[in-house]
């Protein structure tokens, strides 16, 4: 990521200890102006705690948080100017939509006219101007969500934090809100930290993703880097589905490794940097393994296998393939008419490009 710019927010060696044995961290990362950074991980990985530390609802045990160059973690929560959108929205049930959005402005002792102007503009922006007199209990989940966002954004915070904001919505609404969030983000250009356990959400929304596990950042990078070049088996497995195959490096040529993964089965993978020695972990994404390419195509890896289980997933088929040489691979295929003829026991000719094979140093 660009290092010539000054980050809006910098987390340095954050450690939070709950009990002698229970702690997260040290966690360090930066968020640059206008950037959308996701903290992604399973529950209990420390992503929400990190967010709450930034918002000021938890004290750090060690480390520091800087907003631009100002030490943030010693300021009380109400003086941080860091907006937070809660998982369950946490709207004020006794105030209508308008007053919910005006809440922070009124505390900031801004003039009545100015408050009115800002709140109206914000309600227009999120499309809630027609329901500004409604109470939170009279709103749909999506509308409540938008009030929560409007309430935070109207304060013009330097950084806006989202704590799993879509997890309480049903699938259809979640997808719609995801699009809205992305639109809003593009219009506002706010620096954003977005906590989620949903990898598709993180991939779709983020400029960069930090994958957390057991209170540590496993990898931080663009969605493409995270998905295609995961730094660890955990990341490979957590983001999407991955075939992880153990192998031994037996040769190297022209930026490619030859890896023996089974009895007589050798795969070729692209590689940059120092050549790893000994055993490695190889990742193949199920949708990057093809079984329908003509032999004539120049593709580095070809191997054959027998089709095992077929799982129908609607859009896709998930195929379990016993590869000759003793490998078990998951392969994703479209569930279109062409693939309807697939039956367990069928012989498959598989292929995979060397660029789609990713070697994890073990």
């Amino acid at each position: 990521m660009p290092t010539d710019r000054v980050p809006d927010l910098r987390v340095e060696g954050l450690v939070k200890r709950y009990a002698p044995q229970v702690s997260i961290g040290p966690i360090s990362f930066e968020v640059y102006p206008g950037e959308y950074l996701s903290l992604l991980g399973p529950s209990g990985c420390g992503k929400t705690t990190t967010l709450r530390c930034i918002a000021g609802f938890e004290d750090l045990t060690e480390g520091a948080i800087y907003l631009s160059d100002v030490r943030l973690d010693r300021q009380p929560a109400h003086k941080r100017n860091v907006g937070l959108v809660f998982q369950n929205y946490a709207l004020f049930p006794h105030l209508d939509v308008y007053e919910n959005v005006a809440f922070g402005l009124r505390l900031a002792r801004i003039g009545r006219r100015e408050i009115e102007r800002k709140v109206r503009a914000m309600l227009e922006l999120v499309g809630l101007i027609d329901v500004s007199q409604r109470m939170p209990s009279q709103l749909s989940g999506g509308q409540q969500q938008r009030v929560a966002i409007a309430r935070a954004v109207v304060m013009e915070p330097r950084v806006i934090l989202f704590d799993e904001p879509l997890s309480n919505l049903d699938l259809k609404l979640r997808l719609q809100m995801r699009r809205e969030l992305r639109d809003l983000q593009r219009r506002l250009g706010k620096t954003t930290i977005y906590v989620t356990h949903d990898q598709t959400e993180a991939l779709a929304l983020s400029d960069r993703i930090a994958v957390l596990s057991h209170g540590q950042i496993e990898q931080i990078g663009t969605p493409r880097e995270i998905y295609e070049r995961p730094a660890s088996a955990f990341v490979a497995d957590f983001i999407g589905t991955a075939n992880l195959v153990k192998g031994v490096v037996i040769g190297t040529a022209n930026g490619r490794l030859t890896i023996e993964v089974g009895r007589g089965l050798r795969l070729i993978a692209d590689w940059q940097g120092a050549v790893p020695r000994g055993s490695v972990l190889l990742m193949l994404r199920p949708e990057r393994i093809r079984f329908d390419l003509p032999q004539a195509d120049a593709i580095e890896n070809r191997f054959s296998g027998t089709l095992g289980d077929i799982t129908y997933l609607g859009e896709d088929l998930s195929l379990a393939v016993h590869v000759d040489g003793g490998l078990e691979l998951m392969v994703t295929a479209k569930s279109d008419a062409r693939n309807r003829a697939l039956t367990p026991g069928a012989k498959l000719e598989l292929s995979a490009a060397s660029a789609d094979l990713h070697v994890l140093s073990s």
């Binding site: 918002a55 009380p76 941080r80 369950n88 946490a90 209508d96 007053e99 005006a102 922070g104 309430r151």
Partner: protein, 291 residues
């Protein structure tokens, strides 16, 4: 075997009447009828020889013009209001702490809170004597440090102390129930939007716990206004409340019409506050601030 029948609305209404009937009957016998009699007696003429002369008069109520009775009513309302205010100020922080405490700690807290209700009023008053008497613990400590002996009993502060100690649970319990229902996230949202401790209380906790505050205040006020044992023991001759006056009129001077009149006054004062309180709480729950 009979089939299981879905109860219809009339069925339920009938059951409701049947279930409420014993209590309604009981209340009619022991509350409504005696109250009616008390109200009637308050308009009867004082008799030196019998219970009362059944001659209608407003002479009993005319006594309310007497400065003694005006002071009595003023003192009773004053003590009740002050007790309520003390309980609000002591009760809010306590209720908040209990509502947000870990379950084990909260259980202990509730137990301690309810202990004053577990001993009889007389025993409780004796406890205060041990502390506040001329030779009590507080005076011993004061004099040990060279201070003068203080008269701590038989004055209004002593009564207020005793009453607020006794009635604090009546304020705290409804408040806890209200505060518990406020999601902690909502407070955090307020802090995130720039509200300090006082701001969170004023703009979130207070409006959202208003129903609890009102029911607590009504309970404390009603109990304090009709207090009898504590003002008698801790206030002595100097801090008399309506309850004490009723007791004396009834059992000392045997002036039943006057006791009845004072009882009616007490009920009127209480119902007045109750009505206002309920109206306030209804407005509080429905109400919302204008944009």
């Amino acid at each position: 075997m009979t089939a299981i029948v879905q109860p219809d609305r009339r069925h339920i209404a009938l059951w409701g009447v049947a279930l409420a009937a014993p209590n309604a009957l009981y209340l009619t016998l022991v509350l409504l009828i005696p109250l009616g009699m008390v109200a009637t007696y308050s308009f009867f003429t004082y008799s030196t020889t019998g219970v009362a002369l059944p001659v209608l008069t407003i002479a009993n109520y005319a006594k309310l013009g007497d400065p003694y009775f005006l002071r009595l009513i003023g003192r009773t309302v004053g003590i009740a209001v002050k007790t309520t205010i003390i309980c609000i100020f002591l009760g809010y922080p306590l209720a908040y702490a209990l509502a947000r405490a870990r379950p084990t700690l909260a259980t202990l807290g509730f137990f301690l809170l309810l202990t004053p209700l577990m001993v009889s009023p007389v025993v409780r008053a004796i406890g205060w004597f041990v502390l506040l008497d001329r030779n009590g613990l507080v005076n011993s400590v004061l004099m040990y440090f060279g201070a003068d002996r203080q008269e701590l009993l038989f004055n209004e502060p002593a009564v207020l102390l005793g009453l607020s100690h006794l009635l604090l649970p009546f304020m705290v319990l409804p408040l806890v129930a209200s505060i518990e229902r406020i999601p902690p996230n909502v407070e955090e949202a307020a802090r995130n939007l720039g509200a300090g401790g006082l701001g969170v209380f004023r703009k979130v906790i207070l409006p959202l716990s208003l129903p609890g505050l009102v029911s607590g205040a009504v309970l404390v006020y009603v109990e304090a206004a009709s207090a009898f044992v504590l003002p008698a023991l801790l206030g002595g001759r100097f801090v008399r409340m309506i309850g004490n006056e009723v007791f004396d009129a009834l059992l000392v001077s045997y002036n039943i019409p006057q006791a009845s009149m004072l009882t009616v006054m007490l009920i009127v004062l209480t119902i007045g506050v109750l009505g206002t309180g309920l109206a306030l709480s209804r407005r509080g729950t429905v109400g919302r601030s204008a944009p």
